[in-house]
């Protein structure tokens, strides 16, 4: 289980997250939604340990990892698909994949398996990372994260730039990932995906949690939630 407790985060002098508490168990898929600039990506980066906490705690299975370096957090079994994909441009597709597996124990996901689910990557296996199209890079980024066989997978807008067919395919893949015992934290603009997958949802607004609840609760309060997202009222604290 991964959690942020009362997290405060800032870039330089600008506060971006204030008092955010979010948790995700290993057997659930949670989604974080919110407007552009609400702090979704920041939340994921903070969970991953890429940003320092000004206040609050970062937890993994009850263990305090607030002060841990990113590489250690990663080796605990947390993987991130960042919003800008961050493919290594000077490495080939194959090497990018190998990088994903390097620091981790082998598991269900192997290079053969990810190439099976993304046949496009197999076709481009010897290409340089910087030669791929936008969508291909996105697939590679997801595949690379899977190869670490994480216990928790943090996905920042994983469907961005992907063709509708692949988006549908991804939903199946994430379901499969979840069945393999991996918890997923999903940040999405495209509401279709979290609606189909997430067990619980958090709505972020101006760097604070404005609403949270289960899928069923969301279904029931859909109107309220939509209005929170669009107008940003009703802060929870």
């Amino acid at each position: 289980m991964i959690a942020l407790e009362n997290a405060f985060v800032q870039y330089g002098a600008a506060r971006v997250l204030s008092d955010v508490s979010i948790k995700a168990a290993q057997d659930e898929i949670i989604a974080i939604v919110g407007r552009n600039g609400a702090g979704k990506s920041t939340t994921l980066k903070t969970m991953m340990g890429l940003l320092p906490l000004q206040q609050g705690r970062r937890l993994f299975h009850q263990q305090d990892i607030s002060r841990q370096a990113v590489e250690n957090i990663s080796r605990l079994g947390i993987a991130l698909v960042p919003d800008s994909r961050r493919i290594f441009p000077n490495l080939s597709v194959m090497e990018n994949l190998r990088m994903g597996a390097l620091a981790h124990k082998p598991g269900y996901w192997t290079i053969a398996r990810v190439l099976e689910i993304f046949p496009r990557l197999q076709e481009r296996i010897g290409f340089g990372g910087d030669q791929l199209s936008g969508g291909e890079q996105q697939m590679l980024s997801i595949a690379r994260a899977l190869l670490g066989n994480p216990k928790i997978l943090l996905l920042d807008e994983p469907t961005e730039g992907l063709a509708p067919l692949i988006v549908n395919h991804l939903i199946e893949i994430f379901t499969l990932v979840h069945q393999q015992g991996t918890g997923i934290v999903l940040v999405e603009q495209n509401l279709k995906v979290p609606m189909r997958l997430a067990h619980r949802q958090y709505v972020l607004d101006h760097g604070a949690v404005a609403w949270s609840g289960t899928a069923a609760e969301l279904e029931a309060q859909r109107e309220t939630v939509e209005s929170i997202i669009t107008t940003g009222v009703n802060h929870e604290h």
Binding site: V33, G34, R35, N36, G37, D83, R120, R124, Q131, L132, S133, G134, G135, E136, Q138, M139, E157, E160, G161, L162, A163, P164, L165, I166, V167, N168, Q189, N190, L191, I229, T230
Partner: protein, 249 residues
């Protein structure tokens, strides 16, 4: 012939063994909005690069209003009225919004950049810039540093920069990528109003948006145009459904 704005004649692009574009022939009529869709890696961005002049090593010809522009560098194509936005935002991150727009506006007035009459010259630009600020909804942010704005606003600025020089032909590469669910509607409207009176070529993976904006849809796959037609025709096309849209769409 005069109503053909852009024309691709036997355009092919190869990267090593890969044919990213395979003999594309297509005429884009002036004043219409074209949607360009296709699976990832189909060659859409590459085609846009060919049209905008970012990729000069290709076979075949690119014509703009009947003139062969195949060998022209991007800035010369811009002078032929071709404007382009990028999949990854390309703005001036350390300048304010208004400074960004000023650079785009001054190209319209002269290519010659006098440095001794700067203030007077700037007053002439002011009207254009104000109009663009209003159109893109950036008026309230005119003095914000562009790089520190939210992504949605940066995308709006990207569009403003593309539009200010007054292009007749707009090439838009996934202009809505990364724009939030709530802002999509406003952004769509913005693109729609920008399209008025222009030839537009739009790449987008958001089906609702592309279907509502485009008059004509062109579908690419593996470097070739595999289908075209009105949104309804394309949506109904079996091949398109199987390679791109998915069955349940």
């Amino acid at each position: 012939m005069s109503n053909i704005a852009l024309q691709c004649a036997n355009v092919s692009v190869s990267f090593g063994a890969l044919k990213a574009i395979d003999n594309v022939n297509y005429d884009f009529e002036a004043g219409r909005v074209y949607g360009l869709i296709g699976p990832n890696g189909a060659g859409k961005t590459t085609l846009l690069n060919v049209l905008a002049g970012r990729l000069l090593q290709h076979q075949g010809k690119v014509m703009c209003h009947g003139e062969d522009i195949s060998a022209l560098a991007p800035h010369l194509r811009a002078r032929h009225g071709i404007g382009r936005s990028f999949q990854i935002t390309k703005i001036y991150p350390e300048m304010t919004v208004i400074e960004n727009l000023r650079i785009a506006a001054q190209i319209k007035h002269s290519r010659f950049m006098p440095f001794w009459i700067a203030p007077r010259y700037d007053r002439r630009l002011a009207d254009d810039i104000d109009a663009m600020l209003k159109m893109t909804g950036l008026a309230a942010h005119r003095h914000d540093i562009a790089g520190a704005m939210s992504y949605g606003l940066q995308r709006a600025l990207e569009l403003g920069l593309t539009l200010l020089p007054g292009p007749r032909i707009l090439l838009l590469d996934e202009p809505l990528a990364g724009i939030g669910h709530q802002e999509i509607e406003a952004a769509t409207r913005l693109i729609q109003s920008a399209s008025a009176g222009r030839t537009v070529l739009l790449i987008e993976h958001n089906m609702d948006v592309i279907m509502s904006l485009s008059e004509q849809i062109v579908v690419m796959c593996n470097g070739s145009v595999i289908a075209q037609g009105t949104p309804e025709q394309v949506r109904a096309d079996a091949t398109v459904r199987s390679v791109y849209l998915g069955e349940d769409e």
